[in-house]
Amino acid sequence: MNSRYVRLGVLWLLLLTVPWWLPLVGGYTQLGTRVLVYALAAMGLNLLLGFTGGLSFGHAAYYGLGAYGVGLTLKYLAPSTPLALVVGTLVGGVAATLLGPTLMRRRGVYFAMITLAFGQLFYFIVVRWNNVTGGEDGLTGFVRQPLHFGHYVLPLHDVAFYYLVLFCFAVATAIMGVLLRSPLGHTWVAIRENRRRAQFLGIPVERYIWASFAISGFVTALAGGLNAMLNNFTSPLDLYWVLSGDFVIIAVLGGMRSFWGPLVGAIIYLYAQDYLSSLTDNWQSFIGLIFILVVLLFPRGMLGMLRMKARSA
């Protein structure tokens, strides 16, 4: 119990000091921000994937809807960073919530396929709806706005924006952490472990998977919105199925049975991307190689492997 608090303390201390130490090890603040954004998206996905047992192959859709929600709000509605984030999160989250019921009866591969199909649906809508979304060229013409605290105005330069993302990350992970320790979270894990058994207990399994899917959609949408602000840009690639696959890879890399696994996965994935892409255009084949090695050698992901070692030691 105590060592858990120590580990959490170290984790948050490291996250709070990223702008100081990351440049010392060859990184830069924006890379840290991107890690948090991807980690948040993958942790949202992992609520469904790792803790409820539903493989979604279309989570980029909710990520992208969050991104376009933010971009369009800033561009057309109001120049307000908090409002844009709320709208983005709602757009993606509500879309996931509404689609949920049509997905819940499907299982396994069929579940993955139908989430993929819905994801692609949104992708094509955004590509075709040229005059609003900017089509294939992506959405430009918006910038994240300074935060107003009464009379005090905080401009969101790179470091300040990192802390805004960290704040959102903290709130979202705290909510997910509380949920997973609650009876609701226990029920999700029971469904993952043995859906039939859970059903025989009298648990309306489909409603619970829906709840997980919806919450997971909100979290991923928030991450997408933050990403649009990070780049002051979003494009249809943010809804594309390849990105859905990246989220799954990040969760599996880090360990989908561990709460913080996707964070570890995002660090590995983005660091590899950042470093390898400066060496070779074929960096993706190296990511693939890393992924294969992790799946073969540590089927529970990096963090899962460390935990097993700790338990057997």
Partner: protein, 249 residues
């Protein structure tokens, strides 16, 4: 008062008539065994009671209420709880976590996103009670997939108990067990019946178990009730000996 009453239950699967005009009455607090050769319709009978399939004809009564129209989930909440021939547990969770799911379900708190410390402690005490009753206390923190088969079966019974059943139905509780594990399960069933007056209906192939603990026995053969009575009566029944125990009539 009868707790469970089956009235002329029939069930066919295509041209196969799995149950034909089966009637059975079980009183509260009874420990009843259902025996019969393979294919006699024992598990189909269980499925009629738990609601996995509806009967083709006939009525199932539980506590003087016709329950044909109720879903399996509703029947579970009424207190009809079963275990399975193939062990159904939550493999990667600990024994404690397995039972906690059941206790939270019984308390209808599955959907709660948060729980007060006091309430949580209350539910965990209930888990500890179940661990004590079933003799699993020292294995509480073990992951169930790593337990021996016999212990996994006990975990399954404990999950069923966590739902606070009025009628506990066990489908071959000692299947695949060694002698020691069987003795352990038998004494657990006996304890649940003697100390808690729990009504238990069980399917079993091990005749030592059946004649050792059952108060009454129902013998099924080819989808019909061949005989019913106390162990002595059933053992003396000539048709049973002929059809089931393999003696010439």
């Amino acid at each position: 008062m009868s707790l469970l009453r089956l009235q002329n239950i029939s069930r066919s699967f295509g041209s196969l008539r799995a149950l034909e005009e089966v009637s059975l009455e079980m009183s509260a607090g009874e420990l009843r065994a259902v025996i019969g050769p393979n294919g006699a319709g024992k598990t189909t009978l269980f499925n009629m009671v738990t609601g996995f399939f509806p009967p083709s004809s006939g009525t199932v009564w539980f506590a003087d209420r016709a329950i044909n129209a109720l879903s399996a989930e509703r029947r579970t909440r009424l207190g009809i709880v079963r275990t399975f021939q193939i062990t159904e547990i939550f493999p990667d969770l600990t024994v404690f976590e397995n039972l906690r799911i059941g206790v939270e379900t019984a308390a209808r708190s599955n959907a709660l996103p948060w729980m007060s410390r006091a309430r949580r402690a209350g539910l965990e005490r209930r888990v500890d009670e179940l661990l004590a009753v079933t003799g699993l206390a020292d294995k509480s923190e073990r992951v169930v997939s790593e337990l021996a088969h016999g212990d996994q079966r006990v975990v399954e019974v404990a999950i069923a108990l966590s739902l606070e059943p009025k009628l506990l139905m066990l489908d071959e509780p000692t299947a695949g067990m060694g002698d020691e594990e069987t003795d352990n399960m038998v004494s657990l069933i006996r304890r649940l019946h003697d100390e808690r007056q729990l009504s238990i209906l069980f399917i079993e192939h091990d005749m030592d178990v059946v004649f050792g603990i059952a108060q009454r026995i129902t013998v099924l053969d080819q989808g019909r009730v061949l005989a019913e009575g106390t162990p002595d009566e059933v053992a003396a029944d000539r048709r049973v000996r002929a059809a089931y125990l393999g003696e010439a009539a």
